[in-house]
Amino acid sequence: MERKNKLVIGLFSLTGCEGCYFAILDLTKEFIALGNKVEIKNCRLFEEDVHLEDEKYDVAFIEGSPLTTANRETVKRIRRNSKLVVALGACSCLGGIYHIKEYHDKAKIFNHVYHKDVGIENFDVQTLEQLIKVDHKIPGCPVNGREFMRFVYGLLVGKKIKSVQNPVCYECQMRGYECLLQKGQVCLGPITFGGCEAICLKSKQGCWGCRGLVKDAEVSNLIKKLREKYSDKEITKYLEVFGIKEQINNL
C-alpha cells in the first residue's frame, strides 16, 4: 500500500563505527522493503545527496558519539527539526566503548595516540541525552536490527513500541543457554536490559552490559555473587567496558 504522506526517517551517524547501521542493512531485504514504506533520508551509505539537518523529520535516528564540535551542533539541529529523536546503539545511549577514556588519565590516553598536542578536540564522552532530549532508546552494541524494524513498523501503525523490561538472563534461560555465572564467570545478564536475544551467551561470552541497566535491576545481588570469586577492582573493569558503571553510580 502506497501512502501519500510517507513517514520521513532520518538516519544520522556521529563519530563511531556505523556498526548499528550495518546491523540494520544486513537485514538487506527487510531494509529495502522498509525503503518502500517510509522515506529514508540521510542514509549516507545509500545515497550521495546531502540532506542538511535542517530538513524536517518525523523520526531521527542518531547513532555514534558526539565527539566533535560539528557533531554537537548537528544533534541540536536535528532535535529542532524532528518530531521524535531516537538514540540508536550503545554509543548514543551510554557513551559507547570510547567512554572507557573517562575512567583513566585522559591526557595520557591522548598522548599515547597522538604523542603531543596537535590541536585535536578531546571532549568528554557524552551520551545523546546529556545534549538533547531523547524520546526513545534502542540500545546495544550493535543494535538488534529487528528491534529497529519493530519500532519503525510500530510507528507506521501509530504505536510507539515500548521495549519490555526484561533482563538478558530471562532471554538466556528461555533459550536454554548454559549459565556462565553459575560456572563462575563474569556475566552481567541479571542486571542488563534484554532485547538482544542473549546473543553473546549463545557464543558463551558473558554479558558485559552493552544495553545498559534493566529497570529495577538488582545490582547488589549480582555484585554479591561476583564477589565470591572476583575482587571489586576486577568487577569494576567489566562494568566499565560499555559504561553500565555510570548508570549504577547514578542509581
Binding site: 563505527c17 549516507r44 558526539p66 599515547h112 546473543i199 553473546c200
Partner: protein, 425 residues
C-alpha cells in the same frame, strides 16, 4: 588558481571531505579531510585486560569488525605464545573470506558501482537495476550468514576469541548454507560480467603496491609483507622499520609513508602482486577487463574487489571441505580452543583487511594488562597514495565541466573504498 571542494562525501564508511586546487596546467594540490572525532581506541586499551582487546578493537569499524578482531587476536596470541590448531585456522580463514565478500560486495555494488553508471541515490539504483541489485544482495547475504554462523553475530563477532572459538559453529547450519555456495558463486560471476561491460575512467600512475605474500596461497590470513617496487619480503615484526606513521597538526587521521613515499594497499595491490595465486575463475575474469599487470589504474580497485569475491567463494569451498574432514577426527571439539597461561610479552600481527594491510601490536604485563598498543589501518596507509593520485588526476581532467570533474573525483575516492572510521580509530 581554481579550487574544488567536496563537503561531506557520501557513500563511504565514515565522514570526510575533499579539497583540491589546480595550481597550474600540470600541477595540483589535493587533500582529504576527515570529520570523525578522536575515539582514541589505542589509548583506551591501555591498562585494560588483554581479553577486552578483541572486543574493543572490533568496534573500530562496523563494516570490517571481523578483521580487526582477528588481527588483534593474532597479535595477542603471538605475545602470549599461543599455538592454535589447524581446525581454528581453517575456521578463521572461512570467517575472513566471508568478511571480504560482504565488505567488497557492499562497496563494489552499492558504494562504487552507482558512480560508474552515473546514479547518486541507491534507492534509484535499486529501481534501475533490480535484477543485478538482487543478485548482489543475495550473494552478499551468503557471506553475512557465514560470518553469523562462525562469528556468532554479523556485526562485531563474539565467538572468535584468543585461543580459538568459544563454541563450535552450528554444523547443520554451516552445511545447509554451503549447499548455496555454487549458486552464490554463479551470481558473483554474472555480476562480474555485468560490471565488466561498463567503462572505467582512464588513468595511470605507477606506485608501490604492498600486500601480504604467502608461498602456499593467495595471502589474506597470514604471510610476509611484500613491497612490489623492490620485491622485498619482510616479516610483520620488521614492518615498522621503513614504514612510518606521521601525526600532522589538526589532523585526527595519521599518515603512513614508506621511505618517505606513498604506498598502495588493498584489492588492486593484492591482485597485482599475487595474481597467479588467485583461483582460475578469478584470474579469467580479471583478464576479461585488464590484460596488463601490474594495473596502475586505481579505478580498477573496484574490479579487483569483485575478482576477489569470486576467489573468496572458491576459498570458502576449499576450506569447508578441509574443515569437514578435520571435524570427523577424534578429539575435534577439544581442538577448537587452546588454553594458555597468561604471561608478559609483546606481539604484532599483519593481516589483509578488505581495504588492505592491517597492523596490530600489543605488549602485556605479567597480569595480562595491556601496556602498549598500536594499530595501523589500511585507509591510513593508502591515504597519501590517494592524494597523490588525485594530484596527478586533476590536471588530466581540467578541461571537463566542473560537474564532471567533481563526479570523477568522487568516483576515484570511492574506488579506493576508504574507511574513515578505521582510519581515525
Amino acid at each position: 588558481m581554481k579550487t574544488i571542494q567536496i563537503n561531506h562525501l557520501g557513500k563511504t564508511e565514515g565522514h570526510m571531505s575533499f579539497v583540491g586546487a589546480l595550481v597550474n596546467n600540470d600541477f595540483a594540490e589535493a587533500r582529504i579531510e576527515t570529520e570523525e572525532g578522536a575515539r582514541l581506541i589505542e589509548g583506551i586499551l591501555l591498562n585494560r585486560k588483554f581479553y577486552e582487546a578483541p572486543i574493543i578493537t572490533a568496534r573500530i569499524c562496523g563494516i570490517c569488525p571481523i578483521v580487526h578482531n582477528l588481527t588483534c587476536i593474532k597479535a595477542l596470541e603471538k605475545a602470549e605464545n599461543v599455538q592454535v590448531t589447524e581446525e581454528i585456522v581453517v575456521l578463521r580463514k572461512m570467517l575472513i573470506n566471508a568478511q571480504f565478500i560482504h565488505s567488497h560486495a557492499l562497496h563494489a555494488f552499492f558504494l562504487a558501482f552507482p558512480d560508474i553508471v552515473g546514479i547518486s541515490n541507491n534507492f534509484d539504483f535499486v529501481k534501475k537495476y533490480p535484477k543485478e541489485c538482487n543478485l548482489a544482495l543475495e550473494m552478499r547475504d551468503f557471506a553475512v550468514e557465514l560470518s553469523r554462523i562462525i562469528g556468532g553475530r554479523t556485526v562485531h563477532p563474539i565467538n572468535s576469541v584468543i585461543g580459538g572459538f568459544n563454541v563450535e559453529p552450528e554444523f547443520s547450519e554451516l552445511e545447509k548454507l554451503m549447499l548455496q555456495l555454487p549458486e552464490a558463486l554463479k551470481k558473483a560471476q554474472i555480476l562480474f560480467n555485468f560490471a565488466a561491460k561498463q567503462k572505467l575512467p582512464e588513468f595511470v600512475r605507477p606506485t608501490n603496491y604492498v600486500c601480504l605474500k604467502d608461498k602456499k596461497e593467495y595471502a589474506i590470513y597470514d604471510g610476509e609483507v611484500l613491497f612490489d617496487d623492490n620485491n622485498k619480503l619482510i616479516t610483520p615484526e620488521k614492518f615498522l622499520l621503513d614504514v612510518k606513521e606521521l601525526v600532522r597538526p589538526y589532523e585526527k587521521v595519521k599518515r603512513v609513508q614508506h621511505l618517505d613515499r606513498s604506498i598502495m594497499v588493498g584489492a588492486l595491490a593484492r591482485v597485482n602482486n599475487n595474481f597467479k595465486q588467485l583461483h582460475k575463475v578469478a584470474q579469467e575474469s580479471w583478464l576479461k577487463t585488464q590484460k596488463e599487470r601490474p594495473c596502475y589504474n586505481s579505478f580498477f580497485n573496484t574490479y579487483a574487489q569483485i575478482v576477489e569475491i569470486l576467489h573468496c567463494f572458491k576459498e570458502i569451498e576449499k576450506y569447508f571441505i578441509q574443515y569437514k574432514k578435520l571435524r570427523t577426527k577424534p578429539g575435534f571439539f577439544g581442538r577448537l580452543k587452546v588454553e594458555f597461561k597468561v604471561r608478559a610479552g609483546r606481539g604484532c600481527a599483519v593481516m589483509e583487511a578488505p581495504r588492505g594491510l592491517l597492523y596490530h601490536e600489543y605488549e602485556l604485563d605479567n597480569e595480562g594488562k595491556i601496556v602498549y598498543s598500536n594499530i595501523i589501518s589500511p585507509t591510513t596507509i593508502f591515504l597519501n597514495n590517494l592524494e597523490d593520485d588525485l594530484k596527478s588526476y586533476l590536471p588530466q581532467i581540467q578541461k571537463l565541466t566542473d560537474k564532471k570533474q567533481v563526479q570523477l573525483i568522487k568516483t576515484l575516492i570511492r574506488a579506493y573504498d576508504p574507511c574513515i572510521s578505521c582510519a581515525t580509530h
